[in-house]
Structures are given as structure tokens and as C-alpha cells.
């Protein structure tokens, strides 16, 4: 079988209804809290009401007399039973101690778990938790990263000596020279990218049954990165990773943030072992907003951009303070992940960034859809827009001129990343068509004097996919990671039915369907005939260390592994059929559930017969075939990467670059600052599609996450360090009524670097945050303020209409 077989396929590339849908539509799915378990205990965490406080005393004595009390887990026990979770940052911040309950005798953010209690029912566990008394001594706290870097700021982790988790400079090209010689230099003192999260609708649920007989922890619950999770738990609990099994079934969303589940899961595991019964923790929405993972909040300071008189952008420089909250967890990977898209969509030649990851007394950040790249791309796109407005360039032409051009691919960025393919000008043209650009400009002119202002904005982004984990070494040279792999397994059962398992863990992306499409094509079956494993199981041998669903990669890595695994199974079927039918393996083709001899369809063997022979009558086969064939294809896909050049901080950090160009037309009420989106268009290019319907669905979802984040969603903290948006009352996730109908189009630029030309996609790069900021700017016009925040609620927009940010934005030349 060759790649051409799938390229000219029956199913791959087609809009096929999803295999997942029937069970979900009939309320027959099995999400984390659905799984019935006998003798189940329930866990509730007692959490800190303070942003920063010393724990003076914990009193659980009142709980012991309550009906249904099973037991509890205290920080002192955790200190004995576990080591701190693995930290990725180098010294001195590697001194951070992160445990499943507040470590080091203090709490560091509101909502941090201090005690885990267990009861025989949800109600018993709740009542037990309510009786636990924790005596705190409040400590000075810091919730603003800008203040956290001041010398006298309160220390989130006393053992580190500062609030800096990571500090480094990236310097590619020669921005200082460019700023000196450029015709124009724009300078902005401060821009801010706010905190929000995709807030999956299903909060985390972890059920752990400790099996004492085989000393194994069995976990059930959505887990987006299972092998890394077992590794994190194994190291902390000093327990073999192979004795931690993670099973995910239906999974109500992750979008990256559930990567942090190893922390509460460790507490649940310890309780299950201690109390000798299965334990479940069902996270509440409030808990999820406190600790379930926020997206990175970032401050950009001293931003400078160099532009020629013809409107060519040479490059930029800035200082970043990335507010990671109280614990690094997956951080400080964000300090390097953004460099995957160092150039954003543009032909930049120079880029210099001083980047610092900063601890604050806020909830920890986790990777969130568009992780760390969308912050940088928002900055670049915002600066492109500010430059166009300030220097008098047409924002469309300015972008077109500076985009990486179609003929330049593969395009090497300032830091050695390789943009694989794309057609940004065509994508922009299509996006403008979607919003009827000329007509929108007419509407804009006609709106003058009506009390409403119309603005048009463009968001140009990339969705880099398939990480080279070698980039981790750029933040810590000692991290033993590089490249990327994913696993897959395809086997034929005793009756000839075909079963597939992928290492990825879907939470709505339709992996069962896309896997079935490609496997069906290779085996000559239909997707309906392929049995796809629901969710994931770390014990099924389909996974590699990097397995999971994150970083826009499944279409490359997950599908790549399944293709490789299926290829092995195809070869085995060919060997068996060839020996039975008296042909060579190369003459055997697979069609309609049969292995048949090419050009001689009378000589055919049904798959059931192939399976029957291998499983039940191997004596029918020549020994050399019987010895080789197990009707199991297990394979990995390895992304072709090298270790980056640590000295120069260069290298190819991701394999594919899907693009998203968005355009929107919005209307602003001059008296209130309210925004109404009138038209919204997205053009996606993720290479060769596997299932166009699923791609479109991902684009819709990412778009609405971005729109909602730009206008409604903000994990704001008050001066006391209290999260002001701990539920869906205060954290307004957009409803159907808040949104415009979405207009979609696509461009197909196959990737030259991937198995079938597909690119990872789904994160979307946060394009709506850019497009909306640009459209607000366009509506506000030259007389008003400059959009310097990614979050723009009505009040802020009203402020922009009244000017006010002028002094922080300067055109030096």
C-alpha cells in the first residue's frame, strides 16, 4: 500500500457523518461521572479562601463523628507519601514544590486544595468537608505580574527567591539595527492579553480504584495526555507508571486545560489506596474556574516595530511578562511554544523578545486552545494594525504585502521554523469576500452620524501543529525530550472484524470517524465496518509517551500512526491470503471485506476466513507466515525532527502550519460601547482534509471561543486575590444568542511534510481576538484611543471612543 491509495480514496477527504454521534445523541455516552461503580466513595477538596496564607492548623476532628465519613488526606501525609511533581524549569525556580495538596505549609491561590475528604456519598463528602476547620494566617499577596517582579513583592514560592519562573532572551536577526535604520518606528509602552479559558462543559472527573492485589491504580476520567499523566503521578507517588492505568471514555472537552488533571488525580489515588475503596472526585464549575487551568495572561512592554517607507515590516522587539499563576505545572513551556510562530504570518527578519514567566497568587495556567502562540500573534497582529493606522497604510494591503507569499514555501522563519505551505493572500481575499468587504465599507460610511460606528477587522493567524518536543530544551537544556511520536493499533478479531485504537484521546474532534475513514480506505471496507475504540486506555499499547490530544496534531500524528499500523495489518492479510490463494502478497488487494487476487476476483478470501485461519487454524498456513502473522498492526508515527540548536535558539519546532484568516464587521454603540458583530467570516487552510465537515466544526468552535474571549470572558481577580468569575454567572461564556451566524470557506494547501498532506488544526490561533481588536480599532478611528487590550467589554470600548491611550503609543519616525 502506498500513500496514493489513500489520496485517491473512497472515504478519506469526504464529509462522512460521525461514528460517535449515535450514542451521544441517544444519551448513551459514558462521561466521567456516568460510570457506575460499586462501593464508590466521593472526594471533596477543602480549598483555600485566601490568595496567600500560612496554614496554622487543620482540624478534622468534627468530621470523624459524621455519618458517612470515610477518611481524609492532609498535607502532612502528602508530604510523606509523595515527592513534588516534576518541574520543567531550570534553577533557581526548579525549587518550586508542587503537590496535590498545598505544599510547604501555605496556600498560594484562592481555590487551592488543602484537605481532601472522603464520604460514602456525595452528600456525606460535602458535609464532612464543611466541618473541616483550617486556621490561616493571611500573607501579603500579589496578583499582578507587573508588581510581582518588583524587588519587594511578596514571594509566591519562598524557596525560589523571586517570582520569576523563567527568564530568557530570544534575539534573531538584528532588530537594534533595524530600529535604527528603518524609515518608521512605532513604539507602544504596554499591551495586555487577558486571562480566560475554553472552560470545557464537562468539568474534570477522576475515579480511581486502587487494586491492592496487583498494586495498581486504575483511573477513569478524561485525560488529554495519558502517558505524561502516568509519568507525573508515578514520579510523585514513587510508583511504577505501568501500575497506573488511565481509561478515558467519552470526554466533555479539554481544549488543553485538562492537562493539569494529574494534580487532583494524585490526591484521589492516595485516598483510594488509603481507604481501600474506589474514589471519585467530580469537579464543580466553581472549582474548575479556580484551578482547572486558565490560559496564559501576558503583558507586553516596550514594544517597537520597524517599518520601511514602502510599508514593509522589518521586525519587532518587546518584553513579555507571562503571568503563570501560582504553580508552573505545564509551564514554563509557554516561554518557548510561542516561538513556533515567531514570524506570525509575516516576512519578519528581526525579532527580539525578553520573556519572563512570572508567579502570582492566582490560579495556575494550563495550555489552552492556541496555547502561548495566540498571545504572540495577537501582539504582532495588533502592532501590524496599529502601524497601518498610524502610518497611513491600508490595513488590507499592508497585511497582503507583508504576508509570507505562496511561492516562498517552505518558508524559514527568523528562528529556523519551517512554514510548510499556505496561501495567505488567497485566504484573505476569500475572507473579505465572506464579509462582503466593499459593501461593509459602504455600510461603514453610511453609519457616520447615526450613533453607531462600524468597524472592519482582519485576524491573520497560524495554527502550528505537531510539536518538536526538543523545544523544551530551549527553556531547560537538561530536559530529555525531543521529536514527537504517536501510536496506533489496528487488529483483526477472531471473526474478521477490524478494531482500531489510537493514542490520541478525542474530546469532540471525531477521531473515531477520521480513523475509520482512513482505515476503511486501506482495508477496502466502509467506515461503518471499522470498530473504533472509544476514548483511550493507557494499557492498550496504542500509546507512546507523547500520546494525547493537544497542540493540533492528530491529523498528522494520530492518523500517521494509524496508517502505519494498518499498513502492517494489510501486509499480514496479504501474506495469509497469498498463501491460501496461491498468489504473491503483492497480488492481493483488499476490497469489500475480501482479500482477492488482482485481476482474478474469483480467487478471494473473506476477512472472516483470514481471521479464522490465523486465530483458529494456523496449521493451514506455512510456518513462516503463521509465525509472523498475529493480525495486529501496532505502529508509531515519528515526526521528522532534529534537536534544536540550543545556542542560537533555532530549529524546526513544529511540523505543520495551518492558517486561519478571519474577517469581521462589527457595530459599536457610541453611547454605551456595546458591540454587535454584523458579519463574521473564517477561511481555514489545514492542507488536505480528511473530513471537511469536522474541520469546519473545529473552525466554528475555535472562532466562538475567540469571539467570546474577546468580548465576554475574563478571569478577573480583585485586589484581594479573589477570582471574580468563578461561575457561569460571572464568567459569561457566549450563548447562541450572543453570536452572529458564521461564514466559512477554505483553501487547501497540502503539507509536503505529512503522510497525506493534512495538517493539524483545531486550535485556530485565536484569530477572533485579533480580528475583533482590529475591527474595534477601525470603528474607533483615528480620533479615539488605541486598542491595547485583548479583552474589550463595552466600558473599555467606550473609553476608547473617548480617547485616552494616546500617550502610550508613539510614532518615533
Amino acid at each position: 500500500m502506498t500513500m496514493q491509495d489513500t489520496a485517491t480514496s473512497t472515504w478519506t477527504g469526504k464529509t462522512v457523518p460521525r461514528k460517535e454521534d449515535d450514542r451521544l445523541l441517544k444519551a448513551q455516552g459514558e462521561f466521567g461521572d456516568d460510570t457506575p461503580i460499586a462501593h464508590l466513595g466521593h472526594v471533596v477538596f477543602v480549598r483555600s479562601p485566601y490568595a496567600h496564607a500560612r496554614i496554622l492548623d487543620i482540624d478534622v476532628s468534627a468530621a470523624e463523628s459524621l455519618p458517612g465519613y470515610l477518611g481524609c488526606l492532609l498535607p502532612d501525609e502528602v508530604d510523606v507519601l509523595t515527592d513534588g511533581f516534576m518541574e520543567l524549569q531550570p534553577a533557581p525556580a526548579d525549587a518550586e514544590v508542587d503537590k496535590c495538596l498545598a505544599a510547604g505549609g501555605k496556600v498560594r491561590f484562592v481555590g487551592e486544595p488543602v484537605v481532601a475528604v472522603a464520604g460514602t456519598s456525595r452528600q456525606a463528602a460535602r458535609d464532612v468537608a464543611a466541618t473541616v476547620v483550617v486556621d490561616y494566617e493571611p500573607l501579603p499577596h500579589v496578583v499582578d505580574a507587573r508588581r510581582a517582579v518588583e524587588p519587594e513583592a511578596p514571594q509566591v514560592h519562598d524557596e525560589i527567591g523571586s517570582n520569576v519562573a523563567w527568564d530568557g532572551v530570544y534575539d534573531w536577526g538584528d532588530i537594534d539595527a533595524a530600529l535604527k535604520s528603518a524609515d518608521h518606528v512605532i513604539e507602544v509602552d504596554e499591551l495586555h492579553f487577558h486571562r480566560f479559558s475554553s472552560t470545557p462543559l464537562e468539568c474534570s472527573v477522576v475515579t480511581v480504584s486502587y487494586d491492592a492485589g496487583i498494586d495498581t491504580f486504575n483511573l477513569i476520567g478524561g485525560c488529554a495526555m495519558p502517558q505524561i499523566t502516568t509519568l507525573m503521578m508515578a514520579a510523585a507517588m514513587r510508583h511504577p507508571a505501568e501500575k497506573i492505568r488511565i481509561v478515558s471514555k467519552d470526554f466533555g472537552g479539554s481544549f488543553g486545560v485538562k492537562i493539569g488533571m494529574y494534580v487532583p488525580a494524585t490526591a484521589v489515588a492516595l485516598l483510594s489506596r488509603k481507604l481501600g475503596r474506589p474514589m471519585r472526585w467530580t469537579e464543580t464549575r466553581t472549582e474548575h474556574h479556580w484551578m482547572g487551568g486558565h490560559g496564559n495572561e501576558r503583558w507586553f512592554h516596550n514594544v517597537k516595530m520597524a517599518v520601511t517607507s514602502e510599508g514593509r515590516v522589518l521586525g519587532l522587539s518587546y518584553d513579555a511578562l507571562d503571568d503563570v499563576g501560582a504553580y508552573t505545572r505545564y509551564e514554563p513551556l509557554g516561554a518557548v511554544i510561542w516561538t513556533q510562530v515567531a514570524n506570525a504570518c509575516y516576512q519578519l527578519q528581526h525579532l527580539k523578545v525578553h520573556y519572563r514567566s512570572i508567579y502570582t497568587n492566582k490560579g495556575p495556567v494550563h495550555p489552552n486552545r492556541g496555547y502561548s502562540r495566540l498571545q504572540h500573534m495577537w501582539l504582532v497582529e495588533r502592532m501590524m494594525d496599529i502601524a497601518a493606522h498610524r502610518l497611513g497604510f491600508d490595513p488590507v494591503q499592508f497585511r497582503l504585502q507583508n504576508y509570507v507569499q505562496p511561492e516562498q514555501y517552505p518558508y524559514e522563519t527568523v528562528n529556523g521554523c519551517v512554514y510548510d505551505s499556505g496561501n495567505l493572500p488567497l485566504s484573505l481575499e476569500k475572507a473579505l469576500d465572506l464579509i462582503e468587504y466593499d459593501d461593509a465599507r459602504r455600510l461603514q460610511r453610511e453609519s457616520a452620524g447615526t450613533g453607531k460606528r462600524i468597524g472592519i477587522g482582519i485576524g491573520s493567524t497560524l495554527d502550528s501543529g505537531t510539536n518538536n518536543f526538543g523545544q523544551a530544551r530551549l527553556i531547560n537544556q537538561f530536559l530529555p525530550f525531543s521529536g514527537n511520536t504517536e501510536g496506533g493499533l489496528v487488529r483483526m478479531g477472531v471473526d474478521g472484524s477490524v478494531y482500531t485504537v489510537t493514542g490520541g484521546v478525542a474530546f469532540g474532534q471525531g477521531h473515531e470517524t477520521t480513523v475509520a475513514q482512513v482505515v476503511a480506505d486501506m482495508l477496502g471496507l466502509t467506515p461503518d465496518e471499522i470498530i473504533t475504540h472509544r476514548g483511550s486506555d493507557s494499557a492498550l499499547s496504542a500509546q507512546t509517551g507523547f500520546s494525547g490530544s493537544y497542540a493540533s496534531q492528530f491529523a498528522v500524528t494520530g492518523i500517521g500512526a494509524i496508517l502505519n499500523a494498518t499498513r502492517k495489518l494489510v501486509r499480514e492479510i496479504q501474506l495469509v491470503a497469498a498463501s491460501i490463494l496461491g498468489a504473491t502478497p503483492e497480488e492481493i488487494v483488499l476490497e469489500g471485506g475480501h482479500a482477492l487476487v488482482l485481476g482474478d476476483p474469483e480467487r478471494a478470501l473473506p476477512f472472516a476466513a483470514v481471521a479464522g485461519i490465523v486465530h483458529f487454524s494456523p496449521a493451514d498456513l506455512p510456518a513462516e507466515v503463521a509465525d509472523e502473522v498475529g493480525l495486529v498492526g501496532r505502529a508509531v508515527y515519528r515526526a521528522p525532527f532534529e534537536i534544536p540548536d540550543l545556542e542560537r535558539k533555532r530549529g524546526n519546532l513544529t511540523l505543520t502550519y495551518a492558517s486561519q484568516i478571519h474577517a469581521c464587521v462589527l457595530e459599536i454603540d457610541e453611547e454605551t460601547g456595546e458591540v454587535k458583530i454584523l458579519r463574521y467570516g473564517m477561511v481555514d487552510d489545514c492542507g488536505t482534509p480528511i473530513n471537511p465537515m469536522i474541520i469546519q466544526g473545529q473552525v466554528h468552535g475555535a472562532t466562538v471561543h475567540g469571539i467570546s474571549a474577546a468580548l465576554f470572558e475574563h478571569f478577573a481577580y480583585d485586589d484581594d486575590g479573589q477570582l471574580l468569575a468563578a461561575n457561569f454567572y460571572d464568567y459569561h461564556a457566549a450563548t447562541a444568542l450572543d453570536l452572529p451566524s458564521l461564514r466559512y470557506d477554505s483553501v487547501v494547501s497540502p503539507s509536503p511534510f505529512t503522510p497525506i498532506g493534512a495538517k493539524g488544526m483545531g486550535e485556530g490561533g485565536g484569530a477572533p481576538l485579533h480580528a475583533i481588536a482590529a475591527a474595534i480599532q477601525d470603528a474607533v478611528g483615528g480620533d479615539g484611543g488605541v486598542v491595547l487590550e485583548s479583552f474589550n467589554p463595552p466600558e473599555r470600548i467606550l473609553g476608547l471612543l473617548n480617547g485616552g491611550t494616546e500617550s502610550t503609543v508613539r510614532v518615533l519616525r
Binding site: E20, K26, E202, L739
Partner: protein
Amino acid sequence: MTQPQDEMLPISVTVDGRLETGQVSSRTLLVHWLRDDLDKRGPKIGCDTGNCGACTIRWDGLLVKSCMVLAAQADDTRVETAASLAHDDGSLNDLQACFKEHHGLQCGYCTSGMLMTATDLLESGEEITEHSVRRGLKGNICRCTGYENIVRAVRAAAGHDVEKPHGAAEEVAS
């Protein structure tokens, strides 16, 4: 004031056409009884403030969020969850089929609630427009689909001629 104690109350509720009886504590929410005692997986919990609508059911014919109702209040009433929607032979009903055709679900967690709300809207006799569907669904949060395909699916179920998913038209043509 002394710490109040729960009382156990007998209830009997017709759930998805079947009479179910049980003992519930006075503070048990209907959603928890349906899920934990009856293994009904339609109603889901996505928030703790009554906003997300994942727990939506019909209760004596009225659409409600079962996380804001006590199980004790449901005694001697009738409850329908999303598990009651499919045809008796297990095939999808029209609305479910439209959700499938129009890719109106991704992770599937909001889906049962969405289906219940959409069913109520479609049966209400209210005029179905894009706007009325969006308004009708505003008590149900979805974090995956961006609602676009849900709105299309509901309109399709109402007989509207809506845009097919990307790539679907092509398949029909071939």
C-alpha cells in the same frame, strides 16, 4: 440553631415512560437522583449556577433545568430525559438525525440538554427563524460547536433549507 438533618422521603416518578420509585434525601437535586440512582445519562452537570442547561429535561411537559429542582418536588410527576427521544427501534428521531447530519455536536456533553430544548422549541408552535432558534437555545451552553451547526440542525428539523456541512454537497453530487 441546631444543624438541620436530612429526611428521607419516598418518591415515585414516571421517568421516560417508566414508573420509578425511590427514597431521596430532602436535599437531593432531581438531576442527581436521575443520574446516580437511575443511571439516566441524558441530564448532565456542567455548572453549579443553573446557567449551562446540560441538565435540561421535561417535567410534566415543561422544559426545566433539573439542577434547580429537588427530587422530592418531583414526586408524583412525569419526567422525560433525552433518552426518551429516539424511536423505539433505537433509530434516531428527526431532530437527532439533523444534529448528526449537520454536525451539531462535538464532545456531546451539552447535546442531551440541547436536544430537549430544541424539542420543546420545535413543538411550541413558535415561529422558527435563525434568531428564534438562537434565542430559544440561550439557556444551553455549548463550548465546542460555536452553536452554528446546532442552529442549522434545529432549523433543518423545522424543515428549513439550510447550508449543508462543508463538503457534504459535493458528496451528494457524486
